[in-house]
């Protein structure tokens, strides 16, 4: 039972990383990024390509891939997404949804739909004794790293000047501007950062999940439910809901396997009825 709960948290780590990226992007840009799953997939493919074509291993990929994807994200924001600011959010939906399909098809064209091979880093090949039970070392690493990343983002947003500016720009853009702060300067890096987080989740997934063009599309539906449960744009909410959904799915699989597919969405519907803005959402901006 404790083992299963822990297991749920590991699954939740992926949801949390992806939801966190979606939340900061939504908070800052007001854009729901439908291409997020595609960037998660590109993260995994990035790790695969680095190893397969350049012989660059997992540890370097953990840094290189998110940085590269972050830069791609920044370019995309500059070239495309920026042009839609101020328009109906529907345009943002269409643009990012279209991007997701294009990215997915480009990868499919190049690599086909069958999954690619990726070996686990040897250092993390064993099992760790966690006191009550043994657990695969790699999974412990995934959980620890995502907890550290989520914590660091939290500290960045609440304890630093940059974080303060970002939060202020999200909540009251006009007032922030009136104080002499250039809000638009921060939009591009925040978008890139959100994409980098998706890329990081993708690299982490490479050794333990099937690497194929469809992997992001399948996962992202659940991540959207996570973001909605946590409260759109709420950074804390998205992370908390990510881990919560991980737990709920693991326990759901354990006790009511037949329902596990719908459990997340039942929970989402219940949360929306009870608190339409999500568990941690407020009417305005980042928590």
């Amino acid at each position: 039972m404790i083992e299963q709960a822990f297991n749920g948290l590991v699954g939740g780590a992926f949801y949390a990383l992806l939801a966190l990226g979606l939340a900061v992007i939504f908070g800052m840009l007001g854009v729901v990024n439908f291409a997020h799953g595609a960037f998660y997939m590109l993260g995994a493919f990035g790790a695969f390509i680095l190893l397969d074509s350049f012989g660059i291993g997992f540890w370097a990929a953990l840094v290189i891939v998110p940085v590269l994807l972050g830069l791609v994200g920044m370019a995309l924001e500059r070239l495309l997404i920026r042009r839609l600011s101020g328009l109906d959010p529907l345009y943002g939906f269409l643009l990012t949804f279209g991007l997701a399909l294009i990215l997915q098809d480009l990868v499919r064209r190049q690599y086909g739909v069958q999954s690619q091979q990726y070996a686990r880093p040897e250092l993390l090949g064993g099992t760790l004794n966690l006191g009550l039970f043994d657990y695969p070392a790699y999974q412990v690493f995934v959980l620890a790293l995502s907890a550290v990343v989520c914590g660091a983002v939290w500290l960045l947003l609440t304890r630093t000047k940059i974080g303060m500016i970002v939060r202020a720009s999200t909540e009251k853009p006009e007032l922030t501007r009136a104080l002499g702060i250039d809000v638009s300067r921060w939009v591009t890096p925040v978008f890139g950062f959100g994409i980098a987080l998706a890329g990081l989740a993708g690299v982490l997934a490479a050794p333990m999940r099937a690497i194929n063009p469809l992997m992001g599309g399948d996962l992202i539906i659940v991540v959207f439910a996570v973001v909605v449960i946590g409260g759109l744009g709420s950074v804390f909410g998205s992370v908390a809901a990510g881990f919560l959904i991980g737990l709920v799915s693991a326990l759901g699989n354990l006790y009511v396997p037949a329902l596990s597919q719908t459990l997340v969405f039942i929970l989402m519907a219940a949360v929306l009825l009870w608190r339409p803005a999500g568990l941690f959402g407020r009417q305005e901006g980042l928590t």
Partner: protein, 412 residues
Amino acid sequence: MKAKGLSIAVVTAGALLAGCGGGPGGGGGKISDGGVTLAVLNDQSAVYADLSGKNSVTAVEMAVADYKAKYGDKAVADKIEVISADHQNKPDLANSKAQELYDRRRADVILDVPSSAAALAVATQAKAKKKIFIDIGAATTELEGKQCNKYTFHYGYNTYMLANGTGSTVTADGAKTWYIVYPDYAFGQDMNKSFTAAIQKAGGTVVRSDPTPFPNDNFSTFLLKAPNLNPKPQVLGTMQAGGDLVNLVKQYNEYKLQDKGIDLAVGLMFITDIHSLGPDALAGTTFTDPWYWNANQQNRAWADKFMAKTGTRPSFAHAANYSAALQYLEAVQRAGTDDADAVVKELEGHTFNDVFADNATIRAEDHLLLHDVELAQVKPSSEVKEPWDYEKILKTIPAEQAFQPADGSCRL
């Protein structure tokens, strides 16, 4: 912000993401519409695109070339066209594409059609249009059971054959207790039933069987649960396919279940799955394969020709498409016409050997192709001598034992 309205829109949109004249008249027969048209209807963009997809069209073209080379001027079908369509694994699309192929594109036969729901939809069209349909890609026994019809044939494999080969053999070899996980849709449920029956018949027990979400990238709950079941299962039987199977096997290795005394048995595996995982991830796993490219010289020679055209080794689905197209054309040749009723008569009860099917019979009662199938084991990478050389053949299961007896549920 407009959190509430957006929330609902996000989820709705999120759900969307989840992709002439007559022939020469050999024997006085006739060829309709100026030629014979073979249509391959399969998945060319989603999960089954690599294990069948466009390369199956190439395989059918190879069959046409071989037919022409064999009969030359005596060929009844002198003008043969191969066309194809993509059903993206969607039953509704399969249904409308089948209508289009039969009606507007003048297809005389539709081939392949993976995924059971899509296959059953096309079978209904074949019956309504009185045109031939030879299914290869789908596994459901319904095609030769309650939902069979005069114009539909099932060619290559089915859930009974997989369960009977793998489930019975692994149980008879000493693994008496099973834990089955299956994807929660028609194919998975069907496989779960077939395997449970085969295991029990062979003297084993299924400790538990769990449905899993589909698609699913996280099987850890089930894998952690396995060693704690009572009694502890000796085998984890997975009925997952494609990307789900890859996820499950990666995580099976991650949780080191083999070290905990739980072996892996795979319900349905294509050679592309082994290629995706690498042989070491699956080394020692036993499974049933309708056909393996490197099983003998004849298969290998055909696989070499296939590779020259496609750059890859054929899966059993590719070989089965070749064989089905060839046997269809041979039946047209014997009938002297492409008239569907006459060709059905020639196919029914026909016995033959070709590169795909050994000791083959097309059973007249239910239109199921019976042929020898292989019980295979995945080699460790140390024994792999060349790319795609992944399987060791343990034994050949003779045609009459490999498939279910006709149970009378089919009324043609």
